[in-house]
Every structure is written in C-alpha cells, then in structure tokens.
C-alpha cells in the first residue's frame, strides 16, 4: 500500500498538476490518437470513429502525387539552408561581442541584437514584403539608384529561400548568441593571462582558447539543431509564400494546410502530417542518441 500512501501524501501536488495533465491529454494526446483518420475516409457526419477504414490509401495517393517529392525537397532544403547559414551566425556575433573591450558599447549592441526576436512573424514578413516591393519598396528604390531594374523579389521562386533564411538570421542571431556569451563567461581568465605572457596574438587567443572554450556548447546546439532540421515554422512560410513561389516555398505543413484543412481533405492532410511527424521523430531520436554518445566522450 506504499503507492496509495504516497498518492495520499502528494494529493495536493497532484491536484495542482491536474489541469496541466488535462491540457496535455486534450491538446496533445487526443490529436495523436486522432491520427487514425489518416487510415480512414473521414466524413464530418460520421465522425472519426464511424468513418470507413481505407488503409494506406491516403499515404499512397500522397507518394504518387507529383508534388510529394517537391514538398519533401523544399522542406529539407529550407531546413538545411537555415542550418548552414543560420547556425554559425550567432557564434560569430558572440565572438565579435566578446572581442569588444568597451563594456558599455557591448551592452548596447547586445540589447539591440535581441530586439527582433520579440517581433511577431507577421510583422517581420510584412516588413520584408513591403521593403522588397517592386513598386515602392526601399530595397528596389536603392537598386534603382544604382541603375538596377526593380526585382519582384516576393514573386520569384529563386529568391524565396534567400529571403526566408536572411530574415530568419536577422530575427534570431542576437537571441541565439546569448547561450554562447554565457558559455564564454565560463572560460578561465587565467588561460588568457598565460597566453598573453607567451606573447599570443588576439587571433591566436581566439583560436586556441575562446573557440575551444565554447566548443561543447557549439556541438550540443548543433546536434539539437540537426534534430529539428525539418521543424520549419509553418507560419513564416505561409506568410512569405504565394502561388508564384510554391515551386521552392511550398513545404509539407503548408501543403497540409491548403489541401487538408482549407480544402477539407482531413484524412489526406492527416496522412501527410503523420509522415512529416514520423520523419521529425526519427531525426530527433537519432540525433539525441548521437548526442548521448558525444556527451560520454566529452567526459574524457
């Protein structure tokens, strides 16, 4: 009866947890069971349980559709480019801030760099849309000044990834640098003093002390980022793309939104949801597995 006694003792704390558990059951676990509709032909009047089973029909339809490959490629490519350009950016910013000797200035730069993180995606994408407008956007006015004809950036599929990745860096680089700046403060200052006595240059100190000092943080964050590589914000793509750029911009989640939710093919959309969820899970689990191994090794 020890279990019962414990339950009784912790009664109040379990009660405090109850609303949160209910939240997770309703908004997270019920949708997981709702996945069954991807194996059914969902009909509104019949509901989830009464609708007919169709097996893997929706999955097969998706993989045979001409858009499937393009969607998967776009999802991975946007994730990949965000990673290779977006990952080093905060490290570089942190190193530059770290080299700054004027503490007041450093604080000002730092505070400014976080600001975009708090701006909504709607506002960031609206700004991008307006600044890049071919008729009265400031970027095209500037290009006109240099004698370049206006470019309809938002209508060009070839520009989509660049816009997506660069606005992403603009918004998150400062926020991302916080963790590295924190890691930098843990480096023993005696190392720098010793290097100074040996006559090491600033570049050498950065290369041999600073970067190795934050390497564990870099490795861990890189692993986490790779795990979430296809976890691309639906909102931002939705807000930036349009039919003219679907070719490079359309990703699994935006396709689910259009063909599944808006057009009402709930079962078909859910099948693609499940597919992308499983791929995401495989990535996270694999990468966490690797992280654990790296974690063990780094003990040496």
């Amino acid at each position: 009866m020890r279990g019962m006694q414990k339950l009784k003792r912790d009664k109040i704390f379990l009660l405090l947890l109850l609303p949160t558990i209910l939240y997770y059951v309703i908004f997270k676990y019920m949708p997981m069971f709702g996945i069954v509709i991807s194996f059914k032909q969902y009909e509104v009047f019949k509901g989830i349980w009464e609708s007919d089973w169709v097996g893997l029909k929706h999955y097969i339809t998706f993989f045979q559709s001409p858009s499937a490959w393009n969607l998967i490629r776009n999802t991975f490519l946007i994730g990949f480019y965000s990673l290779i350009f977006g990952f080093p950016a905060p490290i570089i910013l942190a190193l530059l801030l770290n080299e700054l000797r004027q503490n007041g200035l450093k604080r000002v730069f730092q505070s400014l760099s976080y600001l975009p993180h708090f701006i909504s995606i709607v506002v960031v994408t609206s700004m991008a849309t307006m600044f890049l407008s071919p008729t009265n956007g400031i970027v095209n006015e500037l290009l006109g000044f240099l004698g370049i004809d206006p470019i309809p950036f938002m209508q060009k599929a070839s520009w989509f990834r660049t816009i997506y990745v660069s606005t992403g860096i603009w918004q998150e680089v400062g926020w991302g640098s916080i963790i590295y700046l924190a890691a930098l403060t843990t480096i023993d200052p005696q190392l720098y003093d010793a290097a100074e006595m040996d006559g090491a240059s600033r570049g050498k100190k950065m290369w041999h002390i600073t970067i190795p000092g934050i390497m564990p943080a870099i490795v861990i964050l890189l692993i986490l980022r790779v795990g979430n590589i296809i976890d691309i914000g639906f909102e931002k793509v939705y807000l930036l793309y349009n039919p003219a750029t679907y070719e490079t911009a359309d990703i699994l989640s935006t396709y689910v939104y259009r063909t599944g939710l808006v057009a009402g093919n709930f079962s078909y959309g859910a099948a693609i949801d499940v597919f992308s969820g499983v791929i995401g899970l495989i990535f996270v689990v694999t990468v966490n597995h690797i992280a654990r191994k790296v974690g063990e090794n780094s003990l040496w």
Binding site: G3, K6, D10, I12, F13, L16, L17, T20, I21, Y23, Y24, I26, K28, Y29, M30, P31, M32, F33, G34, I35, I37, I48, L96, E99, L100, V108, F109, S111, S113, Y114, L115, P116, F118, I119, S120, I121, V122, S126, T129, M130, N136, I138, W170, G174, I178, A182, R202, L239, S253, V256, G260, L261, F266, G269, D273, V274, G277, G280, L281, V285
Partner: protein
C-alpha cells in the same frame, strides 16, 4: 590598464554598428514614413527623418474599426491568456519540482514526449473543433496554454530553492498551499515575470491559432488585421486620391508600428528578465 585601439577593434566596432543599424533602421524608416506627408513619400524623399510631419495616418488608423477591434481583442487575449498560462504553469512546475513526487518521472516523460511528437495540424484542429472552441476567445488561449519549455524553466527555478524554506513554513503551521503562496511565490517574482512576459509576447504575436481557429472577423487579433492590411491594403476610407498608394504604404507602416509598439515599450523589462530565463532553462534540472 589602458588598452590601445587596434585596427581590429575599429573594424569590429564598425561591423557591430552596421549590424545594429540593420536592426534599428527598418523601424526608424517605418516610423518616419508613417509620420511624413504623402508628397514627400511619393517622391521617395523620406530616408531617415519624417518630412512634412503629420499624424494623419495614425488618425485614419484609430478611426478604423477593424484595427481598434483587433487591438482590443489582442489585449483581451493577452491578459486572459497570460493569467491562465501563468497560473497553470506555476502550479505544475511547483509540483514537478518536488523530488519525492509520486510518478514524477512518468509525468515528466508524458510532457517531454509531446515536444518530440505531436498529432499535427489537422488532428489538432479536429480536437479543437470537436470541443467547441472554434470562433471563441478560448481558441486563442487554451490550445497554446502551456509551453513545456516554460514549464521546465520554472521547475528548474523552483528546484533551486532551499528545502529549509518549506520546512520552516511547515513549522510555522503553513500547509502545502500556504508554503507556496506565502513563501515560495513572493520569492519567485523574477521567474514569474520572465515566464509571464514570455507567454504575453507569444500570445500578442500569435497568428497561427487565429488563422486556424477563428473565422469571425469580430474576434480577429491585431496580427491578422496587420496581415490583411499589408496584403490587401487600404482601410476603406472615402475620398482616396491619386497618392493613394503612397498613403497606403504609410498606413501599412503605421499599422505595423502600433502593432509592435507594446513589445518595444516593454522591451526594457523583457530584456532585464529574459536572459535570466534562457539561462535558467539551459541548466539541466
């Protein structure tokens, strides 16, 4: 010790100044255009400071019922949603911070698992619809009520509090709830402020829930109104003339500015608390 400014320092400062400019300039530019008169905007003469200062577009905006409704809705969602989120998160985090809690491991895993896998957009939509949240204020509050990340940041904070606090509370005859409300919470103001601000900003910026769960334009939050304005343009006002397009641009910028202003105004507070929040979160519990 005085250090001489080396070429690298100059280069570094210039680079960081340039970076700061790319952060600040878009906002300065938008504010200036929104405060300039249309003739100057049309000729593309506004670059840094407003020219032909006028607050005309702001008057237009505050006379637009769509924007005013959006603003009111967003404020309502933020106040209501942040309260609910913060109360639930605090209760859960405090309980999970107890090392002796029965089934602590299982409950933690139950929450962490949802960070790794979820049902996806459509099954979630169907659940939200089936419990009747579509086109209600709850749609903006409940589906995103608890963030596992915030929950674990708070739990880590509570775990860092000395056990003696609770023991002394108990000796003074306080029950478990009394210890929480009389002793723990007053000492937790910084973390409550941090998490409250995180939730508040997230709700202020939330576009996704509105896109999926709201059809009734009377319930639209500001973000949806901004989006509609920028995409489709023009607050329908009578008597628009030839410089419609340029005024239109000013109106859009002004809308973006008023939609962002509360974030920028609370930024000093955000600043003060959020770095702490991030750093608490990065320490394993």
């Amino acid at each position: 010790m005085v250090k001489r400014l080396q070429p690298f320092d100059v280069f570094n400062i210039l680079l960081l100044l340039l970076f700061s400019a790319t952060v600040l300039y878009p906002f300065i530019y938008m504010i200036s255009v929104s405060l300039s008169s249309s003739a100057y905007i049309m000729r593309g003469e506004v670059t840094l400071l407003p020219k032909g200062f006028t607050t005309h577009v702001y008057e237009t905006i505050f006379n637009s019922s769509r924007i005013v409704t959006g603003y009111k809705n967003t404020i309502m969602y933020v106040v209501f949603g942040t309260t609910i989120s913060l109360v639930l998160t605090t209760m859960a985090a405090y309980s999970l911070a107890r090392k002796t809690l029965v089934m602590r491991k299982q409950i933690t895993f139950f929450i962490i698992f949802t960070m790794l896998f979820n049902g996806g957009m459509i099954p979630t939509f169907l659940v939200v619809r089936s419990i009747g949240l579509l086109d209600t204020i709850w749609a903006m509050v409940l589906p995103t009520a608890i963030s596992a990340w915030n929950l674990f940041v708070m739990r880590t904070f509570f775990q860092g509090m000395p056990v003696e606090l609770e023991e002394s509370g108990n000796m003074d005859g306080l029950g478990d709830i009394g210890v929480l409300t009389r002793i723990i919470l007053p000492l937790s103001k910084p973390v409550l402020a941090t998490i409250g601000l995180f939730y508040g900003v997230a709700i202020w910026n939330n576009f996704f829930s509105a896109l999926l769960y709201l059809r009734d334009s009377e319930l639209f939050p500001l973000q949806v109104v901004i989006r509609q304005l920028v995409m489709m343009g023009i607050i329908t006002t009578e008597g628009q003339n030839s410089d419609e397009m340029e005024v239109d641009q000013a109106v859009k910028f002004a809308t973006i500015i008023i939609g962002t202003l509360p974030i920028i105004m609370t930024y000093p507070f955000l600043q003060k608390y959020f770095v702490k929040g991030v750093l608490i979160g990065s320490v394993k519990g």
